[in-house]
Symmetry: D2
Subunit: 325 residues, 4 copies
């Protein structure tokens, strides 16, 4: 194993709050261990093009509190090809970069795995995505901030729902996963939570709404983007069909869920995983994602980390049900 | 003029942050002047049905910071009829209510004016609407909170726009008025602001975007709901047609703009106008809206207050233009 | 074991954000299992005096997002005596309450344990305190919100520190524990974190500050209330003695750390533990605190839960050190 | 009059949220009118030392939402001397700077006036201070954000006050002026507001507290730093002396009041005044502060702007009194 003297760092996939805190941690840990640290811009696109610059402690000053990613992120068609990856490797050689830290989600780690299979560059991943849909970590960086953003938004909508005795259907992010919907639904006291994993019969939800009719004048229903009941607008139609006199409104929260100042949890998580990623590389690890399980940092091979398991904590589902009386 | 011993109070139209602060102020001022104060629920609907209850200092404790309206708000078909208004009058007589404070927007004041024309009940209005589209007050209650909510949301979206080099089209409330769009557009440093009042040629905006191409990798365009360029999706299409390689996204902020904790400005404004409304009634006023112009409370007849003037401060338009370099 | 048909519920000790979410969960879970639920006001004081009222689903509507505790909290001298506890027991008998849920911290559980030793009333505890100083749960309800509040405050202070090239000494809560300081220190990128558990030699910190002099013009030092270096003012004096030309300021964050809207994490945690507490009682448990360890709810005897262990995650200390370059 | 081709820009005095928005506006307006724009760092200190750099549109990208000032601020002993000011003038000549924009408060404008008296450099001021203590503008940049910060903090403290039935004495900034205290006091529904301008007999406040004893279990008293009743701790002692059984606590909000993301109002105000300042210079103005009175930008000579008038809107005092029932 070659000694690592210089590392490269990039963010890839959708941006997530806390990515900058992770960047800061990787850079400062690298410097702490006397490494050179290069920031690669725009993810795999910058890797292929060799868009990179050396970073020092000042490069990451005063960014821990900022959403987005100062290294930017983008899609790369070229990196999907063998030639593109060869070029990326050449650029790394040119710059004298011995190892990489990749911050992102499943697409990021899929790419990283391919790269490792073809080239001799150790890579450690850091889970940065609001979706929380990776194995090998209790939480991904950005998830906690995203659910707080949803909760803030729904609290606002609740004010209007209560004032007007309305039913609001609120659609949150989660094409493949209801994890944002589930926790933010419990956190906002939603009367129903529709997620792909639960596979609920929506007519049951409607029956329940009928039964609790007298208790409630307003209601919030949280729908994950990817739920089979259809998007928020279809759910709204079904509610209106069943209860024609209800005043039903739709709110699709959209892109506000990605940005914003990271929560303390996300900053601490990002800081811990950033340190761990660099120390992992120095300890000879590669092809693994640093994650946090319980109180401990641990490493999970990329192929296991990205295995999407369509399953949520059944305890959370039960609780959502009990509390939506 | 009959001496006023008892007043009724209601909120009507869309809810707005600060309505509760206004309710608190009206109730406490009423009590301060030894009046009985009745809360009428659900606006004109509650007026027609006589849904009301006596309020004391405790009824309004700890509500100054809450969004929405504890008196609720609703539409009333009945109040639109002569019979409905007669019934409302009878209910007031029954309850011994001598005068009314109506918190809401132009629909509210139109109704109030009709009621005054037919019945001998003094009414003072308080401008509670996020739209800021009334004459006779610099700001309506809720507007300042709404523009802060938009600014918060767009700051989040900016994180993603910057990270991905994207163009975001953000649609904000304002069917008839671009006032929310204009100020929040300046406040977020938007690269373009599309409002019904400005009657801009959108192709000019596109030309400008072309010219500043090299300076900017990301852009935010704020569109008022009612702008003639069409909603946000149509604007997005036009941007994509002109700049096919841009990554263009749409975010419709929707109902989050109505709720939330009122800003300090809205709380102070609501408190001042609540006091003024009660003192106005005691001074024999009726058919007028209390407003704030510069540092001073003043009163404007309902028909003047609701005269929607399609015009915005030209200075703000100019500034938006200069700063969007 | 007597069948439980009716439960009482109270909050005790310092208030913490998320207590209302826990109250809501206990009440709704009780109703879900067809129990009567009584709210006891002002903690043990209300227990002794029999200040209680029956709660229904509406009693806890729209409180999940509110800080503080609707049941209030207070100290009770009487409950510290045998007679006081006897009277509390008599009041419970009178009201037909079979079991209790106690939300609070170590003082709360110490009292509960005494009560159980003397009287036949099952009690389950829920950890509600911003201090996170209990065993048997990864986090206490309120801790996550508190560290977010600290992070928000320090982000603001950082703006001024950067603008003026100042050193700020920020004192956070934690008489016996540096857990708030440690995580919020990492989350704000503090240059030094002083906590009772670490037993650092403060002169080392000063030496470090000397070494990194050229990199930094501004600095934030977070001090836990209970750290041996003395409070924030003493720390400030020591910094000024060593670096007379530094512009050093102190900020004691104080009571703002207790209040505010609970974070999503705290709401979900409170909801889960509220459900678990009631189900625990129904399953025959008593004298235990419901907590969350990793993904699972578990129960810990009161005497173990309150055993204060002066120790923090060494990994977090290490990270704080590496990142404060 | 010399034609202006190049302007310099600095911030001075205490930092205030919105200063960056003003910097952005000055820079972009300068560029819009084809001027060169130089940023001078650390206020008059940088002026004396010639610490300056040319700014372009990118220098001020993505700063509108950030607290503090990217140009930094500091005190300068040298600028207080004739020689220091001469040196500052020489540095400006050297850099080819024809005119200045000074963002700050009364100290800033006092210095600017002196400089103009001695040297031929036109200067326009922009009011950037959280204190709102300048004549010639309804609001100073930063004030709106500061009162929102206070309101947020006191809302949190109110949660604890309500939960524990406590009296909280909250001290806010304002050595010479109670304007922060007054508006934030009304905005938080404080039970008493103590400000230097009102010259209230505090024993009257205590008498009032006695009378409303039965209505209220918790209370918030807001004290301006500079009030004659003494700081918050002295006020607390007097409350405790009169009502020994009250649980009285003190919170000094301190430096959090200066920082944070500027509110929309502050961003718009800063943007307008930044544009106006540059246009004012181009129109031949000097020695004046740009301000906003009602809807209109206007200019006020420095000596009038800084004339501190110890007076507050009597209407606000009356309202505070009525609503604190």
């Amino acid at each position: 194993m070659k000694q690592i003297k210089s590392i490269g760092l990039f963010t890839s996939g959708g941006d997530a709050p806390g990515m900058n805190a992770a960047i800061r941690a990787v850079v400062r840990t690298g410097l702490y261990y006397d490494l050179k640290v290069f920031g690669i811009t725009r993810g795999y696109d910058g890797l292929v093009k060799g868009d990179l610059y050396e970073m020092d402690a000042k490069s990451v000053a005063n960014i821990i509190q900022r959403g987005g990613t100062i290294l930017k992120t983008a899609r790369s068609q070229e990196f999907l090809t063998v030639e593109g990856r060869q070029q990326a490797y050449d650029k790394l050689q040119e710059a004298g970069i011995d190892a990489l830290v990749a911050i992102g989600g499943d697409g990021t780690f899929t790419g990283a795995k391919k790269f490792i299979d073809e080239h001799d560059v150790p890579i450690i991943g850091i889970p940065g995505t609001i979706d929380n849909d990776l194995q090998g970590t209790d939480f991904t960086i950005g998830y906690d901030t995203a659910i707080n953003t949803v909760v803030d938004a729904v609290d606002k909508i609740r004010d209007t729902a209560e004032s007007h005795d309305r039913v609001f259907i609120v659609e949150v992010m989660g094409r493949d996963s209801g994890l944002i919907a589930l926790r933010s639904g419990i956190g906002t006291g939603a009367e129903a939570i529709l997620i792909p994993e639960a596979n609920l019969d929506f007519s049951d939800t409607l029956d329940r709404m009928d039964k609790t009719r007298k208790n409630k004048s307003s209601r919030i229903i949280i729908v994950a983007e990817g739920d089979e009941a259809g998007g928020a607008f279809e759910v709204a139609d079904r509610v209106k069909n069943r209860f024609p006199h209800y005043d039903v409104r739709v709110s699709v929260l959209g892109h506000i869920q990605r940005g914003g100042k990271p929560s303390c949890m996300d900053r601490v998580l990002a800081s811990r995983l950033g340190v761990a990623a660099v120390e992992g590389l120095l300890a000879g690890k590669s092809g693994e994602m640093a994650g946090l399980i319980g109180p401990d940092v641990c490493f999970t091979p990329f192929d296991r980390a990205i295995k999407h398991i369509r399953e949520v904590n059944p305890n959370l589902l039960k609780i959502a049900n009990i509390l939506s009386l």
